[in-house]
Subunit: 351 residues, 2 copies
Amino acid sequence: MSLTPSNGKPTLAAIARLTGVSTPTVSKVVNGREDVAAETRAKVLAALEEAGYQSPGQRRTASGTGVVDVVFDSINSNYASTVLSGILDYASEAGVEVLLSVTGGLPAARLDVGRRAQRMLDEGRAGMIVVTSSLTDAHLASFRRRRIPVVVIDPLNPPPADVISVGATNWSGGRAAAEHLLDLGHRRIAYLGGPESAECNQARLHGYMSALMSRGVQVLPDLVIHGKFRTEHGVEGLTKLLSLPEQERPSAIFAGNDAIAVGVLREARRRGIRVPEDLSLVGFDGTALAEDSVPALTSVTQPLHDMGRAALRTVLRQSRGEQIDSHRVELATQLVVRESTAPRPGIRAGG
Amino acid sequence: MSLTPSNGKPTLAAIARLTGVSTPTVSKVVNGREDVAAETRAKVLAALEEAGYQSPGQRRTASGTGVVDVVFDSINSNYASTVLSGILDYASEAGVEVLLSVTGGLPAARLDVGRRAQRMLDEGRAGMIVVTSSLTDAHLASFRRRRIPVVVIDPLNPPPADVISVGATNWSGGRAAAEHLLDLGHRRIAYLGGPESAECNQARLHGYMSALMSRGVQVLPDLVIHGKFRTEHGVEGLTKLLSLPEQERPSAIFAGNDAIAVGVLREARRRGIRVPEDLSLVGFDGTALAEDSVPALTSVTQPLHDMGRAALRTVLRQSRGEQIDSHRVELATQLVVRESTAPRPGIRAGG
DNA sequence: TGAACTTTCGAAACAATTTCGCTACCGAAA
DNA sequence: TTTCGGTAGCGAAATTGTTTCGAAAGTTCA
C-alpha cells in the first residue's frame, strides 16, 4: 500500500489519508480550485504544510533555484553594469536566478506594483533589489505588506526606516574628494552634482561642504550646480561655471559622478582648457570610464561590484527569515588619484 | 476508446498510437530524456509537431506572461549592455520578463543545460537568447529537441543550420573599414582581430581581406593578429606590431572591436605615437567607448540595440509558433568616421 | 564464442488531474 | 409542513502523464 505517509516523499494520497478527504480534494486545494469549503481547505492546507508537500512542478525546481527580481532605472551606464555584474556574480554562487527589468525612469507606472507583487508571491520569488530607481514609499510598503524582501541600492529618495538599503560612504567620499583638492591648494572648488533630491548626491554634497567648512573655505552657492548624472550635465555645468566673472570661476571641480566628469573633460578640451594644468577634476564612482578617459580621472571609487553582491546576499538572508541587524549597509569609498588633479595654478607643488 | 487522435486535444496516448510506440516513450521524448533512439525521437517529434501537442505545464502557463532566458558571456562591456538594453526594451513592450545569467566564459559547465532546459519547460518560458557565448552544438541541440526557441546573437561558433542567429553585416563592415583606410592612402593595414575561430571575427577579417585584394594590396600574415576582444589585446597587439622591422610596420590598424582599439590608443599614447597623425585607427561596434575616447574613434557601428530587439522579437515569434523565414538575421553596419583616421603620413590629403 | 555492458523500449505501477454525478442543505413556493 | 429546484462540497472513476524496472537486442572486449 503506497498511501502510507510514512513513505519517503509525501504524496497527495498520503495527505488525503491524513486529513480524511479524498485525493482529488487535496489536488483541488493544491491547485487553488474554488469548489472546496473553507474549513476543508484549511484542514488540508495545514496537513500539506506539516508534511511539507511539494507539487511535482515545485519538486523539480525547489532544489534548484529561487528567482530574484532586479529593477534598474537604466542599465546604460558603467555604474549600472558593474552593480549588475556583482549581483549576477553572487547569484550564480548562491544558485538563484535574476529576473531583470528596467523602469526607464518612468515613475514605476509600467511596474504595476500590485500585480508584480502578486506574481512574485505566486511564483515563489525570493525578493527584489531596486537600484537607484525612484520607488515611492507606497510601492515599497506594498511589498513589505506581503513580506517580500526588498533591498534598495543607492536610493534616490530616502527609503522608509524598515526598508534595507545598500550604499557607499558617500559623505566620506565627498569629503575625501574635496580635501584632496584643498590639499592641492584649490580654494574655489565647484560641485557639479547629481539630482538635488537624490540621497547619495546630498551625502556627497555635504561631505564636500564639510571639508570646505572645516578648512574655513566658504561654500559659494554659485559653485554648486545640480543636474542629472549624465555626461551632458558635465558639458552644461562647465559652460555655466565659465560664464561666471573670471575671478569667481573655480580652479577645481568635484563632479557628482564619472559621467559628469567626462562631460566636463569633453567641454574643457573643446575650449582648450587643459586638465589638470588649468583645471583639476575629481569624479565619483571609479568606473572603467575613469581609467580610460584622457587624462585618467582622479575619482572616488565605489565598490559597486560588492554593493551588488551585498544587496543580493541581504535579500536572500531576508527571504530565509534571518534577522538583519542593520537597515543600512554602507561599503567604503576610496579616493583614487590619477591624472586629472594637480596643484592650483600659481601655487608651487608641495608648497 | 479515448486513444483516437480524432479526439479533441492531442494526448500522449494519441501520439503514441500515431507513431506506433508506447506512451512512456512519447513522454520521454517530450521531456527530453536521453534513452530514446534518434530515429524514434525524430518520428515522435514529427507527430508531436503535426498534432500540436502541448504538455500540461505549457498549457497552464501559455496564457500568462512569458519569461525569456538571456545568457551572456559577460556583461562588463559596452557591447553587452547595449545589446541587453535592446532586449529589455522590447521585453517591456512585449510584456515579457527577462531572466538574465552570465556564464563568465565557462564552457557552459555552470549552465547545466539539461536541468536548465527542463526548468524552462516546467515554467513555461518562451525561449532563450544566447549572446556571444560559446554553446556547443550539443547544447543547442538539447534545446531544439525540446522545442525551446533559441536565438543566438553573434555566435562564436557557427550554429547548426536550424538555429536562428542574429548578427550584423560584419563582412561589409570589415570591408568598409579597410576601404576607408585604403582611400586615405594606407597600404600597410594591420588587422587586430578577435578570437580566430569566432564567426563575426572571421567575417570582419574576410571583409578586410576582400577590400585589400580588390585594390591589389597584399594581405600580410604578420599584420593579422588574433586575440581576445579586450583592451589588453590592443595593448599587446600594438606592441607586437611595433616589434616588426620599421619598413614592415603598419600605418593603419583596423581593430576587431572598440575595446581593442582603445587598448591600441592607450599603448600608442604611452609610446608617444600620435593618432591619427602617425597611425590611423578604426574600431568596430560603435559603442559609447568610440565616442568618448580621445581622439574619438572612427568605428564601424553595429546596431547593437536593434540586434537585441530583433533577437527577442524572433524568439517570441518562434514561441508563438510562427514560421521564421530566415535562419540568419543580419542588420546593417555603418562606418562612422571620427577623429582617429587621417591620410597616410607623407601623402597629401585629397592627393 | 561468450561474458559483460549498453542502448532502447514498453509493461506495470504510480502520481496527479479532470469529469461527472451524488448528497446534503437552503430557501421559496405550494 | 412538504415539495422542489438550485447549489455547494465532495469523491468515484476515468483520464492523463511519469517513473521504475526488466526484457530484448546490439556492442565491446577478452
